[in-house]
Subunit: 308 residues, 2 copies
Amino acid sequence: MSQPAAARYAAADWGTSSFRIWLIGETGEALGERRSAEGMTTAAKTGFSAVLETHLEAMGASATLPVVICGMAGARQGWVEAGYLDTPAALSDIVRHAVVVPDERRDIRILPGLAQRDAVRPDVMRGEETQLLGSVGALSGTRLVCMPGTHSKWVRVTDGKVERFSTFMSGELFDVVSRQSILSHAVADAGAFDGTHPAFVAAVAEAMANPAMATNLLFTVRSGQLLHGHGATEAKARLSGLMIGLEIAGATTMTADAQTPVSLVASGPLAGLYTQALTAAGLQSELVDADEAVRDGLAAAAKALWPA
Amino acid sequence: MSQPAAARYAAADWGTSSFRIWLIGETGEALGERRSAEGMTTAAKTGFSAVLETHLEAMGASATLPVVICGMAGARQGWVEAGYLDTPAALSDIVRHAVVVPDERRDIRILPGLAQRDAVRPDVMRGEETQLLGSVGALSGTRLVCMPGTHSKWVRVTDGKVERFSTFMSGELFDVVSRQSILSHAVADAGAFDGTHPAFVAAVAEAMANPAMATNLLFTVRSGQLLHGHGATEAKARLSGLMIGLEIAGATTMTADAQTPVSLVASGPLAGLYTQALTAAGLQSELVDADEAVRDGLAAAAKALWPA
């Protein structure tokens, strides 16, 4: 295969359990895309270089095409440790702390994560900083950025600088509680639901109104089924709403000003659920596609790394 | 084997995953005790009657010795469904709703659970009502009863009547998060700790002060290890303190009066952890051994069922 004539660099988002790569052209357009489950966990066994080169070859990339990477590939247990930039951190500084992967035939850079070295609320991110760079890095003013997922991040950004952020384990808790706890019986065989499901909307409101009762509200997913005959889809929508409502209750303590605009960086079903939940919480949000955000962030980094 | 001369009845606490039985003598003393892992889940496959008779025979019980049982043996998926007594419920009424197990050669009664058929906070218990009967059933005045465990119960009782109660999934969440989430790495190889561990005490206070941040505080168990080098024992003590602190934050919303006395019905390590956590929360508590409470509750039921 021959490399598309216009490819300037490749950009990869290398997470714990997923790998995505794009070939990017002269004007920033995606000339090709590949996705796989060869995340850090897999690649740490099979070899990061081999995984990357296989995908580049399949896309017809030249042997010297440079590559910019964000995410867990830069973790200690990843390919090459890229360290952390400490908060408060200007998003434009990320690229200056990129590390070069040694002994490779092409120029490969891995972007660092962000660390909040706070005594009480230590926190870390890897990958989301690139989404931030791509979504709100060039905006002025203050906004809260909500980035839902396995480990949701809420980030307070002012004039391109990350002031502070908080990780919430909502997605992972939803997953382990759905599969491993007594609630697994309640949500088994649940059908599809979206953010307009009444049980979801009610659960968001209940968790926000009384976050201290979180682990009791979780139990009502089961007791509601036992005593009120609630169905599995209703139970799952309720469980989802409780986790997201609890997260929003906590996250909104990051700003005393309810008028701070919220940017929701998400894709897939979570985009819809969080849009509805934020509305139910009385917050206006603007949706930014998470895939576009990470690609735009990698593009901004590439532009700084390899000026035309 | 011959039955101890003085045995008047047998009393069993038959939970989801555990079975305990005592032979009780004329003056209420325990003449023998057996414990096994043949809880409801196991007995539903091997046969409840067979499990019970095997243990009675091993203890030398006569063929006609009556048996009183509390717990999940009375659930729908148990031996014989014993239903629920609805709150508000006088603890002394439990025994009037006991069901007889049919077609057995001996007189076997299973005590009902309690149900709170509330639209917003539906809740159920099975087994704890018998501990309540044995611990606070005969006391006057109002108290909060804290019954820690896989599914902790907090119960408001006035003059022997259960007014309302709430189940918190603290124990099960601690378990699934410790074993199945990203925090499993942080707590692996943790040593023993007790309620005086500084990380436990601090975590109780943090969760109580900011329950809305619960799922963020959980993540700090990991980020504290990454950024501050916290050890596994510290991580596990922190995780435990966060779960218990969150529970206490919610449970204390059940009473507007911080002077309401708290009875802690617990045994084993949880008794120490909760005693410390309640003290840290500014609550005075009186410890009642959970094993004694259930045996005393079964004894009270037996006395009403089979008056001398």
